[in-house]
């Protein structure tokens, strides 16, 4: 892989070699290459110096987490530990409630779907529900012309009968 360095396209492998990230065979190949490549030789030297600076900075200078801080954090963890079982239980209960709600919703939806299917089936078969009203009992609810028409039909039917 070449990452913009004009001198050698093996530089990134030199980094992998420096970090001990190559298999033994690959490491030997890089060692052989570095011996004959001034750019990679210089790169390896720089990498070693950078790592030495970091190692020097880290050695003996690690900021120490004091006892007081340790105790504070431990107390927080213990307090949290008392809550976690409750939280886990609450999570389980919430999940169960959600399942029950989902199941009930599905059941209701299925029943509604069945009812709708039955209704549309009845309509498609041409079944009508006719409310027969006593015309004389509620004359006001029926239009006068309809009453007259009905009476005319009845009279004609009676006249046709022998």
């Amino acid at each position: 892989m070449r990452l913009g360095d004009p001198e050698c396209d093996q530089l990134i492998r030199v980094h992998l070699y420096h970090d001990g990230e190559l298999a033994p065979d690959e490491a030997r190949q890089v060692e052989a290459h570095v011996r004959g490549c001034p750019a990679c030789t210089a790169e390896l030297a720089k990498l070693r110096e950078i790592s030495a600076v970091f190692a020097g900075a880290a050695a003996g200078n690690e900021p120490i987490l004091g006892d007081a801080a340790m105790s504070r954090i431990e107390a927080k963890l213990v307090a949290g530990g008392r809550i976690y079982p409750v939280l886990r239980l609450a999570r389980v209960i919430t999940a169960m409630a959600a399942c029950v709600l989902l199941a009930a919703s599905l059941l209701l939806w299925q029943q509604q779907a069945k009812a709708n299917t039955a209704s549309s089936s009845a309509q498609s078969q041409g079944v009508r529900v006719v409310a027969i009203k006593d015309i004389d009992a509620s004359p006001a609810s029926t239009h006068p012309t309809e009453i007259q028409l009905a009476q005319w039909i009845v009279r004609n039917l009676e006249a046709e009968q022998p």
Binding site: M1, L3, L11, I12, H15, L16, D19, E21, A42, A45, K46, L47, E49, I50, S51, A52, V53, F54, G56, A57, A58, A59, G60, N61, E62, P63, I64, L65, G66, D67, A68, A69, M70, R72, I73, E74, K76, L77, V78, G80, G81, R82, Y84, P85, L87, R88
Partner: protein, 181 residues
């Protein structure tokens, strides 16, 4: 007690496990957080939030990575969140906060080198800084860094390469024997 036993105890919310977790990983995680954030107060906050989150989510830890790698992954996320949400104190207060630490602080001598290294890290982008901290200061392998940051190994290789190219010019004057040219 190995990590697997520790994880089981944490899942049972065993109080002894919290102390063990702190003893085993607290110092290392604190060092990483300090390198990322540059001051003790924020580093302690990041460590505390990391361990609380880890104990809360311990049920989701499946052991695909080591416990240390998993904790470091949480720590890096917490550090990034803290860095975004706060105006992180710069280098001058670092000296004061380290000196005022509770029984802690740094060892004698070599403090200037650390300051220089920290100053050079601060000049890097957050992505480059975290990868240099994980590799050079904490000694994680490329595969571990890839797991911690959730990026492919190739990204670790190229990102570390570029970060070092930037560091070369800034750090070389502090290198032993006057540095390489």
């Amino acid at each position: 007690m190995n990590d697997q036993v520790l994880v089981e105890q944490l899942r049972r919310s065993d109080p002894a496990a919290y102390r063990e977790l702190l003893d085993r990983y607290g110092q290392g995680l604190f060092g990483t957080a300090y390198s990322m954030l540059g001051n003790r107060a924020d580093a302690e906050d990041a460590l505390q939030e990391t361990l609380l989150a880890a104990c809360r989510q311990i049920g989701s830890f499946q052991g695909r990575s080591s416990l240390r790698t998993w904790l470091t992954s949480i720590l890096m996320n917490q550090s990034a969140r803290l860095r975004r949400s706060r105006a992180v104190r710069k280098m001058a207060p670092v000296d004061e906060s380290m000196g005022a630490s509770d029984s802690g602080g740094r060892g004698s001598g070599g403090g200037d080198v650390r300051m220089d290294v920290m100053a050079s890290l601060e000049t890097l982008s957050p992505e480059h800084k975290e990868i240099v901290v994980l590799r050079e200061l904490r000694g994680h392998s490329y595969d571990e860094i890839a797991q911690i940051l959730g990026v492919p190994r190739g990204t670790v290789e190229s990102r570390l390469f570029r970060a070092r190219q930037q560091l070369k010019a800034r750090l070389i004057e502090y290198a032993p024997h006057g540095g390489a040219k």
